[in-house]
């Protein structure tokens, strides 16, 4: 894994509310790991309308998901990837796709359920989950108060958590 590779995070450019078809590609590969999103997949296929070659791969359990690297490695240049999955599965599929050579411009990701957001404590370097709307959090490892900043690190896989002294909270 190259450190400068993109990773999936809650504000990733590849995350979409609805799939859109790109007609300028040679093939569309749909990886569906979430049966609940069958309607969205069908809508995509309807929209493709036979204009572009497509392949639908459905994963129903983790064992099948372990083959994702192999499938992605076999794809040719010009393939557009559509990922439909819950957060954790989407993260794995996305990482495998990047590793196989896909760029972010060639991927659309539809998350089923909640996206996850992580904060990196700059006092003790612990990564923890934070709710989407939270602006402050207490580090569950070192218990320091953290102000969640807008900057994300691919290396640390989270948003910056500035340690601060709550006694001076109004000025931070």
């Amino acid at each position: 894994m190259v450190y400068s590779n993109p990773v999936l995070f809650d504000k990733s450019v590849t995350i979409v509310e609805k799939f859109t078809v790109r007609q300028d590609c040679r093939k569309i590969l749909i990886i569906s790991a979430e049966p609940k999103e069958a309607d969205a997949i069908q809508q995509l296929i309807d929209e493709i309308n036979g204009q572009t070659e497509y392949e639908l791969i459905e994963f129903n359990d983790e064992t099948q998901l372990s083959h994702v690297n192999e499938i992605l490695d076999q794809q040719k240049m010009g393939t557009q990837l559509y990922i439909s999955a819950k957060w954790e599965d989407a993260v794995s599929i996305f990482a495998a796709a990047i590793e196989a050579g896909f760029s972010e411009g060639e991927i659309q990701t539809l998350i089923s359920g909640k996206k996850k957001r992580y904060v990196y404590c700059l006092k003790c370097y612990h990564l923890q989950e934070a709710a989407a709307e939270e602006t402050d959090i207490v580090c569950d490892h070192c218990q320091i108060s953290l102000e969640i900043g807008p900057f994300f690190s691919r290396e640390r896989k989270g948003y910056i958590g500035y340690p601060y002294n709550p006694a001076f909270a109004t000025t931070n």
Partner: protein, 328 residues
């Protein structure tokens, strides 16, 4: 805490600003003249600074030094450059003996010797840049050029200001400077413009420089990791104590294109001057007072000194008036 005592060596940041003009952000890079490309400087505070730098590196290695395993060859290239500069400028303080790849570096100021096989990381206990960096007072950041951007791959920083080698590891130049809220007159983000300028103009044998400045309230390094400690101290400054507590923090930056790796080495020389010492150079005092009284709020916010800019300006105003009164 150390302060500059030899003002001839202090990189006063406002030299190029015309008298009576104000300070605004701009691309202020300047090419170093042919005979002035050596970044090694020994100040009277050398030993004090090295002692503190090594303490910080020892106490918090993960905070102060970061690198990727694939950077060894580029780190050795920096070792070679710094040793050559040190020996060239201060032969009375530094010497190197080379027996093939077996090198022995002597630091006579500290009475220390480093022996290693050049290019062989297993011959030393620290990583190459971490080892050689402990002989120089400056901080070092190695930015690797790829995909039209510069990526931070190695950093040894003990005087970080709103920066952290640990946090900024692997980031692009743009990501590191993402908090810079300013755009140029043409609407291009300043960080992007400076990045492109560095990539285009910093060439092998043609280093550049610029001076960055800030104000610090009784603190040497203001890294992200210790924000909870130094953040509140900014509110303790008053017009009465600003002369002692507030320092002009100057970061003289040098940019070298490394010929073999094509990376750009950032060398950062950080020096401090207490507000009360500005009086030693009355022209500096007057100009600093004039510039600080006219700092726009967003800039003070970005630089992190908005909590104590007012008492500092008040202190300088009183000092300027006092000097004027004494001379009249």
């Amino acid at each position: 805490m150390y302060e500059s005592t030899n003002l001839d060596l202090f990189p006063y940041p406002f030299h190029n600003i015309k008298e009576g003009s104000n300070y605004r952000y701009s691309n202020d890079l300047r090419k170093l003249e042919k005979d002035h490309t050596n970044c090694v400087v020994i100040t009277p505070e050398y030993e004090k600074q090295i002692k503190r730098k090594r303490e910080l590196l020892k106490e918090q290695p993960a905070v102060r030094f970061q690198s990727y395993p694939h950077t060894m060859a580029m780190q050795w290239e920096v070792v070679e450059m710094l040793i050559e500069m040190a020996v060239d400028r201060y032969p009375e303080h530094f010497q190197v003996e080379k027996n093939g790849n077996h090198w022995t570096f002597h630091n006579y100021i500290l009475n220390e010797t480093e022996s290693f096989i050049f290019g062989d990381a297993s011959s030393i206990e620290l990583e190459p840049l971490d080892l050689i960096g402990r002989h120089f007072t400056t901080d070092f950041v190695l930015m690797v050029h790829r995909d039209d951007n510069l990526y931070l791959e190695v950093a040894q920083e003990s005087y970080a200001a709103l920066f952290s080698p640990h946090w900024n590891k692997g980031m692009t130049f743009d990501e590191i400077h993402a908090p810079v809220p300013f755009v140029s007159r043409t609407g291009v983000p300043l960080a992007e413009r400076v990045r492109n300028f560095l990539i285009r103009n910093v060439l092998p044998g043609e280093p550049w420089t610029r001076i960055n400045w800030n104000l610090m309230a009784n603190r040497w390094d203001v890294n992200y990791e210790t924000f909870d400690t130094w953040g509140p101290t900014r509110f303790l400054v008053t017009p009465e104590n600003a002369g002692d507590l507030v320092r002009l923090r100057v970061e003289e930056q040098f940019f070298y294109r490394m010929p073999r790796s094509n990376a750009i080495l950032f060398v950062l020389n950080t020096q401090f001057l207490a507000m009360k010492d500005l009086v030693l150079r009355p022209e500096w005092l007057n100009q600093t007072y004039s510039i600080l009284s006219d700092i726009p709020k967003p800039m003070a916010e970005y630089k992190g000194f908005s909590p104590f800019i007012e008492p500092t300006v008040e202190y300088l105003k009183n000092l300027v008036e006092k000097i004027e009164f004494q001379t009249n």
